[in-house]
Assembly symmetry: D2
Homo-oligomer: 287 residues x 4
């Protein structure tokens, strides 16, 4: 991981053609940028070009605010999906929680150690329970109780709050509400969820019970971007832990807590370091 001076990170995908790396790296070179890290891959089946490049902005001739405009003609020519971020500019991230605290605590503690390149302007919950945890880290905590009746209205208020705080990314840290399509669409590929099973196994709300009943020898967890199709979004990270016949459902839940926080943290790290490209229903992760 490079030091925290300002550097630009370009994520780009387009139909493959000759000269893409040369054109892009030349664009950077002729403006004085020194490339720090570059990972490029062409999908051999679909012939799609994927790239992540980061370069030092220290001696770059264009200021950060003008970089996107300067690059857009090239991107247009390539008919590319692309985004430029800056490593020194932190991702503004809101955390949504309900009552389980393990993912929230893990994120806040690591954040306090400087492990994430993000700011957390707010934590949002449908329950007041975890406010003390937020307070300890000095982060504003907003409670939006949700019922069937007020859901649409509450989401409108939530979206306003997020906009006001210039939130880029939302982490559902075991948030037990389903977001509406309108909400999901507003933050496409910017909402990260943790599902407590190895998707696509055990879709639904009681995966540990299902895993116990099936007698599996391994349980998993999955972090993914949220899409309208519940539990069907692009997968960012998955991992597993071994269990045995001696484990009760409570043991599964306990072991699962470790998995969930570890995986959600990894997914959030990839996201805030701009290492993820979403392509169709899949993710390309530049590690």
């Amino acid at each position: 991981m490079a030091e925290d001076t300002l550097s630009a990170i370009l994520l780009l995908s387009c139909k493959d053609r000759i000269g893409l790396v040369s054109r892009i790296s030349h664009f950077i070179f002729e403006r004085g940028g020194n490339i720090l890290d570059l990972d490029e891959h062409v999908d051999p089946v679909e012939k799609i070009f994927f790239i992540r490049i980061s370069w030092d902005m220290k001696d770059f001739s264009i200021p950060p605010e003008e970089l996107a405009d300067a690059f857009s003609p090239l991107a247009r020519e390539f008919k590319a999906d692309w985004k430029i971020n800056f490593e020194g500019r932190k991702v503004r991230t809101a955390i949504f929680v309900s009552r389980y605290d393990h993912c929230l605590r893990e994120i806040l503690w690591r954040h306090s150690l400087g492990e994430f390149r993000m700011d957390i302007p707010l934590i949002l919950s449908n329950h007041p329970d975890l406010e003390p945890v937020a307070q300890r880290y000095g982060i504003p905590f907003h409670v939006f109780p949700v019922t069937l009746e007020n859901k649409a209205e509450q989401e409108t208020r939530e979206l306003a709050l997020l906009a006001e705080n210039q939130v880029d990314t939302i982490v559902l840290a075991r948030y037990m509400q389903i977001l509406s399509p309108r909400f999901v669409e507003r933050y496409a590929n910017q909402i990260i969820n943790i599902h407590h099973s190895f998707l696509p196994a055990f879709i639904g709300s009681k995966p540990y019970k299902q895993a116990y009943d099936r007698g599996v020898k391994i349980i998993g967890a999955t972090s993914h971007y949220v899409t309208e199709d519940l539990d069907e979004g692009p997968i960012i990270e998955q991992d597993i832990i071994r269990i045995s016949h001696k484990d009760t459902i409570n043991d599964l839940i306990r072991k699962g807590r470790d998995l969930e926080r570890r995986i959600l943290v990894q997914a959030l790290m990839y996201h805030t370091e701009h290492r993820i490209l979403v392509h169709g229903k899949k993710t390309i992760i530049f590690v």
Copy 2:
């Protein structure tokens, strides 16, 4: 793992009650048996008692052939499911294959090193392709081509061959035929299959394709006992391997080969060391 003198292994499950270990261990002690390994567990939810005990038969006052008769009154009193095996007596195992050779080779090579407590009186296939592999290890290879029309008839012949060879256990080492209920019933909890996915995800015949299309970050494999419900039998062993966006379906198949043979070998080792109790749809594995 103990040395290969003759020792008895009792696997037993019954409703829990006081005195079970004492009664069983006393039975062994008063006949001169020295216990080598004992693992007992009471399911805290269902209150079922599970035990595996092995003891040295060297100074035991009852010969192996009479042991089951001697023990059965106690087992009857406990209304137990039970079985006694002998470590020095090898499990007679038939291997069923089709065209993939990786699981077969892995088993035969390890077998040649003495890793399994089994004899392999025969290998059975619906294709002649792998006969040379069998020949190299001096194991009879029988071809039973199966069509829709002759399936019942061929199974009858297969069952006769298995009976004639006193086969206890069948390993489906990527055998691409579905066994009939009659066949499965005859070898209940004695047929071990390897399924090339992390069950219950990706049930069916093309799991790697499904995993690729879904964009998972991990692929798995599952070894289980065969029951009438395809892919639903008690799970013996599962494991996973990480994949990335760079992996094509062929890479998944290649990585999966390693998983499949490793997991099938582990399941077969547990089975031939009499470490598995089947209880309902689950396995208790004494490791």
Copy 3:
């Protein structure tokens, strides 16, 4: 894991001989104890018998306080090393820390969720830094600054404090002081340390630096009981994490934090559930 009613746990090792399980289980049975979990193993090389048995004390005819006395004649006859603990009685554990907070936080948070069968009467440190963490969980925090001159005197005061609080077990949660032989002897096999390398590789105080310089592809951590020989005590648990050429020493330290807390927690769980027998320089762990 069984429910939290009072149950007894016997850990015992002795030279193997016939009838041990029968005699011990009969002792339990005739006093009305129902065995919940039993794991026994005879080392095939050294012929040593190791056992862990837990049984329900509900209908047991001897009260917990008299159990050790009642059992000791049998143990004497077997010339056994043994200990009886009670699952419903919590292990009194002191945590020693310096400035790193990750292990301490992990233990306290899990403790607050009821994951450990222990009480934490006090936290002890040579620095005041982590007092706020202790306060949040309402645990007394004692600071004993240590210098070359006052070390012996401070240890005397520490031992008095531990005795006064009836402490059974000490966890060195990245405590950066070396305990004197006198201290270690007083708490033989009761002090759990976490060393930030895969012992015996990278003994010493800068293992991540050494690992980085050597260019290993994996880093590890080791939890062990503390003995007079530094980094040589019986190993309880070890695990590893993969690293790559992209990881700086800081990344190793960050990844190591996760390993350290996970492994220390696992070791502490085994210890407080009375799953560990120390035999010579090794541990037998009944899982």
Copy 4:
């Protein structure tokens, strides 16, 4: 993994400076090469630039034989260490074995499935035992018995045989002889060894015995390039497997066999796909 048409793979390292990617990719672009995969990394501490690029040679204006000459002026300007290989041209690999067959079998079987981009012109051994395995795959097997007296002479004959067969790479698949400095120097960073421990723990010839005696909970294996300092060469790949107190030394050896062949195969795959740059005592692996 790309399809097997001819593509070039450049591995290059040099002191970092601005414009390196641009200059190199332009070199490829202006000669009609389409980049398939590019991974670049700058060491943030040492400021060294590392790159691996592969490109399609189909429409490239320079034939493969002239490519190195064409590229060398650029490389000279950068004062780079570099090498160009071709994916469609297989690495000529000799396998050295003694009596253990597990690594040899694993490599030959996978090779027969097309998993490696290499040819195996010969297998060399100091014992005749494994000749039948070689014969089965139709590979010439040469026996060079080595004694203290004839070692230098035998190595001279071995080197001649290797030269005659245009061997690029040597795999020591549990070859139990130490190569002389002269031999090692001739094949610098081209000899791959498998050591049966997690280096730097348990250096020497009996690591499983040492691991058993120390009571570790994990055993490892390490594949590395051979240098004059035994067990000190740049590490390519490492992995571990869990063991318990129930495992005897023979169990460690058995479990170790699986580790050794898996890790050696992985290292050999990286090497033959030209994914490894050696820098000082470390490897950079482009995965």
